[in-house]
C-alpha cells in the first residue's frame, strides 16, 4: 500500500517541483490536565520531517519531546488536548477520522519503543509479533512466514529460520531491539518513530543498533524521527535535529551544524556537558538549576533563569524562531555566532 503511495508520490514529484514534506508539524500544542488547571506541555511546536531523512528530537526531561512523538503516532495520553496541525502528505492527522489514523499506524508510521522487553508480548513468538501487521493485511500464512524470516534476516538476527519461532525471553536485549525494528519494517512504513531506541542497551550493542538504523534509512529509504536525550546518538544518526526545552523548540538545523556550532545557549550547554571518550575533557561548567518544568514555565524565554547571557528582555519577551543561516532557526534574542 505504501509502496503504491510512494509511486504516486514520485509521479506527483515529477509534476510538482516542490512536493509536500512527508510530515509537517505546524503550531502543535498539547495541554494535559493538571491539579491546577491544564498544563501546556508542548507549546507551538513546528518542524518538518523530509522523506528518507532522519530527524532527531533532542530534549531533557520535561522538554515535551516524547509528548510530541506520541501526538504524531496518534497515541497522546488520556485527557490530552492536541491543537495545531500534523500534516501527513498534506492531510491533517489531528482532524482525520480515527479509522484512517488507525490505517496509517503501522503502515504509514511505525514505532520503535525504548524498552523492547516491555513492548514485546512475552507469550507470543517473535515471528508472530513481527508478522502481525502482515497477517492483518490479509497475507497468506506461508507468505507471512517467508516475509518474517526475510525481515529478521535483514535486521541482522542470526539463524532466522529457527529464531522466528522463539519467544522474547530467548532473545538478548540487542536482538529484541532488532526484532522491534523488524516489526516496524513489516508494514513498509514511510516513517519510523523511534523513542530512545538505544538508551536501555550496552554500548557495544548500541553501536550495532545505530548502524542498523542508518542502514534502514539508506536501504529502505525510510524516514525516521528519533527521540532522544543522547547527543552522541544524535550526532551519529540524525540528518536534522530539533532541540526542545520546556515544551518549546529552541533550535532547528542540520545535525552536524547544530551540534558542532550551537547557536542557542541551551544547545551549547548541552553540547559542552557531553563528556568525551577519545580526549580528556574537564567536567563542564554546569548550568544552574534543573530543566524547567512545563507546569512552571518561566516567563519570556523559558531558558532565561539558567542562561548566562540572559538580559531583561529575555525574561519578558518570548523569543520567536528566526532564521540565522540556511536551514537554521533559533529561538533566542541573543544567539551565538555560528
Amino acid at each position: 500500500m505504501s509502496r503504491m503511495s510512494k509511486v504516486t508520490d514520485q509521479v506527483a514529484a515529477e509534476l510538482d517541483p516542490e512536493p509536500a514534506p512527508l510530515l509537517q508539524v505546524e503550531h502543535l500544542s498539547i495541554d494535559l490536565p493538571g491539579p491546577a488547571g491544564p498544563v501546556r506541555v508542548v507549546d507551538d511546536v513546528s518542524f518538518t520531517v523530509a522523506a528518507g531523512r532522519t530527524t532527531g528530537l533532542i530534549g531533557e526531561s520535561g522538554s515535551g519531546k516524547t509528548m510530541t512523538a506520541s501526538a504524531i503516532i496518534g497515541l497522546p495520553p488520556p485527557g490530552a488536548a492536541v491543537t495545531g496541525r500534523l500534516l501527513w502528505h498534506g492531510d491533517d492527522m489531528v482532524t482525520m477520522a480515527e479509522q484512517d489514523r488507525r490505517r496509517l499506524r503501522g503502515r504509514g508510521i511505525a514505532m520503535i519503543f525504548q524498552d523492547p522487553q516491555a513492548a514485546l508480548d512475552p507469550t507470543q513468538t517473535i515471528g508472530r509479533q513481527v508478522g502481525e501487521i502482515l497477517r492483518r493485511g490479509g497475507m497468506p500464512a506461508k507468505e507471512v512466514r517467508r516475509t518474517v524470516i526475510d525481515l529478521l534476516d535483514r535486521v541482522g538476527i542470526p539463524d532466522p529460520q529457527t529464531r522466528h519461532a522463539q519467544y522474547p525471553h530467548q532473545y538478548s536485549g540487542g536482538l529484541r531491539q532488532r526484532a522491534m525494528v523488524a516489526t516496524a519494517l513489516a508494514g513498509s512504513p514511510e516513517l519510523i518513530l523511534a523513542d530512545e531506541p538505544t538508551t536501555a542497551l550496552d554500548v557495544t550493542v548500541q553501536a550495532r543498533i545505530l548502524a542498523l538504523l542508518r542502514r534502514v534509512r539508506d536501504e529502505e529509504d525510510t524516514a525516521m524521527l528519533l527521540v532522544s536525550h543522547d547527543l552522541r546518538v544524535m550526532a551519529h544518526v540524525a540528518d536534522e535535529v530539533v532541540v526542545m526545552y520546556a515544551g518549546r523548540i529552541c533550535e532547528v538545523g542540520s545535525g552536524r551544524e547544530v551540534l558542532n556550532s550551537p547557536a542557542h545557549p541551551y544547545t551549547r550547554a548541552l553540547v559542552v556537558s557531553v563528556p568525551a571518550v577519545r580526549s580528556r575533557t574537564a567536567i563542564a561548567e554546569p548550568l544552574p538549576g534543573s530543566p524547567a518544568s512545563p507546569a512552571e514555565r518561566p516567563s519570556g524565554c523559558p531558558f532565561h533563569p539558567r542562561c548566562a547571557k540572559a538580559q531583561d528582555r529575555c525574561a519578558s519577551e518570548v523569543p520567536r524562531m528566526r532564521q540565522v543561516a540556511a536551514g537554521r532557526q533559533v529561538a533566542c534574542h541573543f544567539p551565538e555566532e555560528t
Binding site: 552522541r232 557531553v274 563528556p275 580528556r280 567536567i283 534543573s290 539558567r306
Partner: protein, 265 residues
C-alpha cells in the same frame, strides 16, 4: 600509592547458582576472582556492560551482597555482609544509588531522611549544636537551599534527589563513597553538576570513591584509575590516562571503539 590501601578486594567470587547448578558445577560465577585495591582519596571506576558483575562487586564492598570466596578488606580488617559489620565500618562505607527517586523514602521529609542516619548511628550525630543547623550545613555542602529540607522526595527533581542521597551519605562522615550509576539517570545538564559536586567533596573531605558506571566519558573525567570487567572477571586495571590512551586488553579496545563521541561522527 600508600602502603596499605583503604579497600583491598582479593579473589572475590560471587555466584547466584540454583541448587541444581551448584550440583552440576557448570554455571558461570557472577563475579569470578576479582582483585583490586583502592587507596584513601582515590577515585576508582569499575566499567563494564550489563551482567559484567560490576554492581555485584560494589554491593560486596558495601556489604549488601555476601560473597562465596575471597576477601574484602577495609582499613586492614576483613569485612563480611553488612549485618556482621561493626557500626564503625558500616558508617565508613556509604552508597549512592542509581535511581534518585527510588532510593529516598517518599513519605519522609529531607530533614528526617538525614536525621534518620544519626538515629541509626548515634556516634556520627553532631554534638554541641542542634541537628537542624548541622542539616542546613550538609544541605549547603551539596548545593541545596535549607528550605529543601522540609520537602519530600516526591517534590524534588532528579538532581535534587541525588544531592539529598549524597548529603545522607555524607552525614555519617564516610571514608568511602560507593556510587552505583549515580549520574546515569540524570539529564546531561544536571549530570555535570553532580560530577562537580563529587569531585569537590572528594578534594575537600579526602573521600575515596568507588564509581560504577557504563559511561566511559564520565569515567575519563573523574576517575584516577579504571577497572574493566567482562563476564565476571577483571580484564584490565590501569590509570585512567593509560586505559584510554593505551588500552591493553582486547575487550577494553572493543569497548572504547564502540563508545560514541560527539566529535568525529
Amino acid at each position: 600509592m600508600s602502603a596499605s590501601p583503604l579497600v583491598q578486594v582479593s579473589d572475590l567470587v560471587v555466584n547466584f547458582h540454583t541448587r541444581r547448578e551448584r550440583r552440576r558445577g557448570s554455571a558461570p560465577n557472577a563475579v569470578d576472582g576479582v582483585s583490586f585495591g583502592l587507596s584513601a582519596d582515590e577515585t576508582l571506576a569499575i566499567v563494564g556492560e550489563s551482567g559484567s558483575g560490576k554492581t555485584t562487586v560494589a554491593r560486596c564492598v558495601v556489604g549488601l551482597q555476601a560473597h562465596q570466596e575471597g576477601t574484602v578488606m577495609f582499613d586492614g580488617a576483613p569485612v563480611g555482609p553488612v549485618t556482621r559489620r561493626s557500626p564503625a565500618t558500616r558508617r565508613a562505607i556509604q552508597m549512592v544509588f542509581q535511581d534518585p527517586a527510588a532510593s529516598l523514602n517518599p513519605r519522609m521529609t529531607v530533614r528526617s531522611i538525614i536525621a534518620e542516619t544519626w538515629r541509626t548511628h548515634p556516634s556520627a550525630a553532631p554534638d554541641g549544636r542542634t541537628w537542624d543547623a548541622a542539616i542546613d550545613e550538609l544541605l549547603a555542602d551539596v548545593g541545596l537551599d535549607p528550605d529543601v529540607g522540609t520537602r519530600r522526595a516526591t517534590a524534588l527533581s532528579g538532581g535534587q534527589c541525588q544531592r539529598v542521597s549524597i548529603a545522607r551519605a555524607l552525614a555519617l562522615r564516610p571514608r568511602l563513597l560507593v556510587c552505583d550509576e549515580a549520574v546515569s539517570a540524570l539529564d546531561v545538564s544536571v549530570q555535570s553538576q553532580i560530577l562537580r559536586l563529587l569531585a569537590g567533596l572528594r578534594a575537600a573531605r579526602g573521600l575515596a570513591i568507588l564509581f560504577i558506571t557504563h559511561d566511559l566519558g564520565v569515567v575519563r573525567q573523574i576517575a584516577d584509575r579504571v577497572a574493566v570487567m567482562h563476564r565476571g572477571r577483571l580484564v584490565e586495571t590501569a590509570t585512567a590516562d593509560d586505559l584510554f590512551e593505551r588500552p591493553g586488553h582486547a575487550y577494553t579496545r572493543k569497548l572504547l571503539a564502540a563508545a560514541l563521541d560527539l566529535e568525529g561522527a
